[in-house]
Amino acid sequence: MNFIISILFSGFAVSTLILIPWVGVGAFDLRVLFGVIVPYAAMATFFIGIIVRVIDWGKSPVPFRIPTTAGQEWSFPWIKSNPIDNPRGTGGVIVRMILEVLLFRSLFRNTRLEYRNADGGLKVDYEWEKWLWLAALAFHWSFLVIFLRHFRFFMEPIPSFVHLLDSLDGFLQMGVLPFNGLGVPCVYISDLLMLAAVTYLFFRRLYIPQVRYISLPADYFPLFLILALGLTGVLMRYFLRVDITAVKELAIGLFKFSPTVPEGIGVIFYIHLFILSVLIAYFPFSKLMHFAGVFLSPTRNLSNNNRFVRHVNPWDYPVQTHTYDEYEDEFRERMIEIGLPVEKQIEPKEEPKEEEKE
């Protein structure tokens, strides 16, 4: 298997997923299926799946405290320690985790190997490389903003933070552009950022030879899925408009457990909704679980305090050891000979007793 097969397979899978609601709603008008049943099933899978997975992780203990230390440990008052990268206690761990989860601190360290072995001799460099970090950050944050913006469809009345987010994200009025379309309504920065970031994340999988080699269909598939999700969203907003009042009616119906399928919502909406449903249903079974897993990572969420706070292994069991007595028994004679202290002196030989017998 190689990257071509991986991409073809994932591309084919996502194309099929687009076709299903297209035909289903477009040709057979299965709006209840695609507007109610599938979303509910997907949400159930998503929530139950995540809970089951996380609890399953939780069932395995953390027998040893194994943080990766990335800075000076706490030792003497006159040596400056690094309380975040080498946390001494919970406070430092919390800061470390916040930085890790919100800003991808570890990824920020990334460098790129530059290996040249030309006539000038061997040259090995570790170059500046923040693109992955930047794209990852752009992708995750814009995804979050887009998700939260969608709360205007999920909540009634709309909470004020959604309005705020919406106006910040949409402050670009591109109506001055020579063509119509993108201008109204205003363009969301997060839409552009996310599509750009996902596209970059896809192209780097193709472009960087090592990453191309390690990529599986399980890497391309969610990328394509998210790309399709974003593109259908953008299409729906700027080009193939649908009656969004009706969309909200459908969404609110789902959240209030009184589902309705209003008339007059274009197929594009059902495609968008179906891709989302597939994405969240796929979530618990995939690498996307890193979203929850990062919080549980023992190399990040533990303090480096093993030498001063005891850590107990819940499944600890006694092991066989080679005791000092066994050791001395083997080497006693030589130890005495060379003047090493011993616990037991060599017992006098049994010979005299035998003599008595005779």
Partner: protein, 128 residues
């Protein structure tokens, strides 16, 4: 489970945030808006385009009108049915739909849209 307390609190927070729309919407009326037509609009029977198009894309039409009027000086719009309309928000659209709060704002508020029409145009005075 190990570290069960922390994990479950984390799950409750995480899943709770994701489930917040369910919690938030529970028990709220959240009736979808029903735009009201004025008598005049009802009499006219048809708009400049069919209703479904107007529902999803009126902003697009208005934007196009704005561009063509302001940039190109084209003041007339020929509808599909052959009728010609004067391109004007205030004198054409609002002539029929004079009830902004019941016709425009209801839906806009419902889906959280704050159109910038009224940063230039004068909001119509409604007869309450």
């Amino acid at each position: 489970m190990y570290d069960g307390g922390k994990i479950i609190i984390g799950l409750i927070i995480g899943v709770g945030l994701l489930l917040s729309p369910f919690i938030y919407d529970a028990g709220k009326a959240a009736k979808p808006p029903a735009p009201e037509l004025t008598e005049k609009a009802k009499e006219a029977k048809e708009c400049v385009a069919e209703t479904s198009y107007m529902k999803s894309s009126h902003m697009h039409l208005l934007d196009e009108w704005r561009h063509t009027v302001v940039r190109d000086g084209e003041r007339y719009y020929k509808a599909k049915n052959g009728k010609v309309y004067y391109k004007s928000l205030q004198t054409t659209c609002l002539d029929c739909h004079s009830n902004k709060s019941k016709f425009c704002d209801q839906c806009h508020d419902y889906i959280g849209i704050d159109p910038y029409c009224w940063t230039c145009h004068i909001e119509p005075k409604e007869n309450k």
